[in-house]
Symmetry: C2
Subunit: 401 residues, 2 copies
C-alpha cells in the first residue's frame, strides 16, 4: 500500500485508474518486475526540471526494483520532418542521434541509475519494418481516432495542413510499446494520446495493454507556459548552482507550491512543514531559498547549495542597484546610439539566448532598466553613453565602457 | 488535329483541359511516344463492357503509336484489406495475383494489342520501399487533401471508420506514376481523385505531371447503376455470343445512345446514321439488335453476331411463352414442394450467379413466372410439380421433370 501511494504521488493521470494496482499484482504473481517505458526525441538534449518530474517518477520505479526502459526515438529523428516546415524536426544523421543520445543519457544520470536502465533505440526495429508491414500496422488505427488528438483536431478544423506522415508518429510510438511489451508508459500529460495508442496496438497484437501514467507539466520561470527550452523559461539540470539559485528566486510566488511538489525531493513531511511556514505568513523569498537549495542539492551538492545561497546574498540581496556587480560592455558594439533600436540590439547581443519576442515581452513588462529607470515608455530618450548602466531581467547587470 | 479529336472522343474529363495537346506536342518535339498508364487490381479479373470503354481508348493511343502500360496492383492486392472488414479486399497470395493477372491479360487481348503493351507489377518497387521511404512519401500529402476524396469525406462526416492504411492507396497509386514517369493516366471518372494524386507526387519529384483522362462509367443492364460484377448487371467480354445478344436486347431504351457511343465501335458517321434512325421513330428493338451485333463482332466475330441474332429470333422473339425452349430441371432438386421457399431455393440453384437480394428484387418486380403467372403476391399457392414451367428474368426458361 505504501508502494502504491508513493508511486501514485504527484501523478496527474493514470489510465486505467486502477491499472497500476493490477499491474503490480500481476508482476508479483508472475515473480517479475514491471517494464516502464519513457521515450524521448534525440533532437535537443537539454534536460530541465520539467523533464525531471517524469524522470524522478521513473527513479521511484527503479527504487522499487522495476525495469525502466529509456527509448531513444532514433528512427523518427533520422526522418525528421520531411516537409522541412518544422525546424525543430530537421532530420538528424545517425552520428548526431548517437551524440545527442549520449549527452542525454549523461544528463539522465543526474536523476536515474543509468547503469540499471535499459536504453533502446527504436530504429532497431522500425528500420527493419517493410512498407507492407507498416501498412498492416496502419490498418489497426482509424483516421477518426487520430483526429481526436487535440492538436490534430484543431489544425484540421482550422484548415492548417497536417502532413500524412505526422499521423504516423503516434502509431509508431505505440508500436514501440508492442515491441518492448511495456507494462507502463510514462510521459507528461501532453503525451496522453500517444501513450494510449500503445494500449490499443498492444491489444491488437494480443498483448496485455500498458497502463499510462502522465505527470503534470511543470510551469516555467514565467509562471505561465510549461517549462520549455524554446520559451527560454527553464532551469536546466546542468545549470550552474548560482544560476539555479537565481532562477529559482525569480519564479512568481504562485509557483512556489508547484515547485515544492514537483521540483524538490523533500519528503511528504518536509513539504508539509514548508507549506505551513508559507501559510503562516513567512516571507515567500525564504521559502524560495529553501526550494532553490533543495534543487541544487539534487543536481549538484549540499555544499554547492550553501555556496550559491551566499553568493546570491552578496551579489544581489544585500546591495542596491548602484552597488551591483556590473559586466562591462564596449560601447563600440552599439550600432546606433541613443535610440530604442540600439537598446534592443544591445540587449540581444548581451542575452543571445533570449528570443526577440521574449525580449520584447521583457521590455514591455518593465524588465529592462537603464540607469535605474524602466524603459517601457520612453524608448526614444535613452542615452547610451559610456557609464550608462543597464539591467536586463532580474539578475543581469551591464555597464557601457 | 484529327488525332486529337479522335483521342478526345467520349472522354468525360481531361485534366488539365489542354494537357493532351501539350503532351502530344512535347512528345513530338522530343521524338518519343507518350507513356499511358492504366492500373487494375488483380482481385476479380472478369472484364466487361464497362472496362472496355477505357481499354478502347488505350487501344486508340496504341494505334497512334504510343506506349501503353498496364499496371497490375500486385502490391496492394497482397496486402488486401488488413482489417478484414472488406471482403473484396482479402489479401491474395503471389500465385493468386499472378494467376488473376494472366487471366486479366488474356481478356485484355480482346481489346488491346497485348504484345505491344508494357505489363508491370507495382510490387516490383513497392515491395522494396522501406518504411522510412514510405513515410517520406506520405509527407508530401496532407490529410485534408485526402479527405477531399468524396468517399473519404462522406465516411468521415458520417463517422464511418476509415482505417489509416486506406488513405495510403491513392498515394501509392500516385507513386506508381512517379516510378513509371507517366504522361497520361487513364481511368473511369471514379478514378479522378487517385489519378490527380499522381500529378501532385510527380511534381514533388520534379517530374512533368501526367495528364488525367477519365472515361464515363457505362451503366449496367439495370439502366441505373454503373456496370459492375457485384451488381450482376454486366455484359462480360467473355460472354457467349447468344448471352451478349440477349443481354443487350434487355437494356432499357434510355441506354441505347450510351451503349451506341461507348460500347460499339461504329465510326462517328455510322453512329450518326443510327441516331437518325432512332429519332425518326424506328423500333428501338431494331437499334438494339444493331448494337448487339456490333458488340458481338468486336469480341467474337461477325459470323457469331449473325448466328446469335438468328438464335434470338427463333428462341424468343418469334415464340410465345409456351413455345420457348425450356431447360429441363429434375424435380428431386426441390427440397420442399409447393412453397414460396421452394421456389426461391430453386431459383437460386438455377441462377447461381444471382445474389439473393437481386433475386428477391426480381421476384418482387414480377420477373419470375410460374406457368405464365407472375408470382409476386401468391407465394404460398405455387404448385411445383412435374411439368411446371418457370421463367426467371427475360431469357431463362425451365421445366420441372
Amino acid at each position: 500500500m505504501e508502494t502504491i501511494n508513493r508511486l501514485k504521488e504527484n501523478v496527474e493521470i493514470i489510465l486505467p485508474q486502477d491499472g497500476l494496482e493490477q499491474k503490480l499484482e500481476q508482476a508479483k504473481n508472475e515473480n517479475r518486475s514491471l517494464v516502464i517505458k519513457l521515450g524521448f526525441d534525440p533532437t535537443a538534449p537539454d534536460l530541465h526540471l520539467g523533464h525531471a518530474v517524469v524522470l524522478k517518477k521513473m527513479k521511484q520505479f527503479q527504487d522499487f526494483g522495476h525495469q525502466i526502459v529509456i527509448l531513444v526515438g532514433s528512427f523518427t529523428a533520422t526522418i525528421g520532418d520531411p516537409t522541412g516546415k518544422n525546424k525543430s524536426r530537421k532530420p538528424l544523421s545517425i552520428e548526431e542521434v548517437q551524440h545527442n543520445a549520449e549527452t542525454y543519457i549523461s544528463q539522465l544520470s543526474k536523476v536515474i541509475d543509468v547503469s540499471k536502465a535499459k536504453i533502446v533505440f527504436n530504429s532497431e526495429w522500425l528500420d527493419k519494418l517493410s512498407s507492407s508491414e507498416l501498412i498492416q500496422l496502419l490498418s489497426k488505427v482509424t483516421v477518426a481516432q487520430l483526429m481526436h488528438r487535440n492538436d490534430f483536431n484543431k489544425r484540421f478544423t482550422e484548415n492548417t495542413p497536417i502532413s500524412m506522415h505526422e499521423l504516423l508518429y503516434p502509431i509508431l510510438q505505440g508500436f514501440d510499446s508492442v515491441k518492448l511489451n511495456c507494462d507502463v508508459e510514462m510521459g507528461g500529460t501532453d503525451q496522453l494520446f500517444n501513450c494510449t495508442m500503445g494500449r490499443q496496438l498492444q491489444e491488437t497484437f494480443n498483448l496485455s495493454p500498458q497502463i499510462v501514467m502522465c505527470m503534470p507539466l511543470l510551469k516555467g520561470l514565467d509562471g505561465k507556459e510549461k517549462m520549455s527550452k524554446s520559451l527560454n523559461n527553464i532551469i536546466g539540470l546542468t545549470d550552474e548552482p548560482t544560476e539555479m539559485f537565481g532562477k529559482t528566486m525569480s519564479i512568481p510566488d504562485n509557483l512556489i507550491l508547484e515547485y515544492l511538489d514537483l521540483a524538490t525531493d523533500f519528503s511528504p513531511e518536509e513539504k508539509q512543514v514548508v507549506k505551513e511556514r508559507l501559510s503562516t505568513g513567512e516571507n515567500p523569498m525564504d521559502i524560495k531559498k529553501a526550494i532553490a537549495k533543495n534543487i541544487i542539492s539534487q543536481y549538484h551538492s549540499k555544499e554547492d547549495a550553501d555556496k550559491a545561497e551566499r553568493f546570491f546574498q552578496n551579489q544581489f540581496q544585500n546591495k542596491k542597484f548602484d552597488e551591483k556587480a556590473f559586466t562591462p560592455v564596449a560601447i563600440e558594439s552599439l550600432e546606433a546610439q541613443n535610440t530604442a533600436l540600439a537598446l534592443i540590439n544591445l540587449c540581444q547581443k548581451l542575452k543571445a539566448d533570449m528570443t526577440k519576442s521574449a525580449l520584447k515581452r521583457l521590455i514591455e513588462g518593465g524588465g529592462v532598466q537603464v540607469n535605474n529607470d524602466k524603459v517601457m515608455d520612453s524608448f526614444l530618450d535613452i542615452e547610451l553613453v559610456a557609464g550608462t548602466k543597464i539591467r536586463i531581467g532580474k539578475r543581469d547587470f551591464y555597464e557601457l565602457l
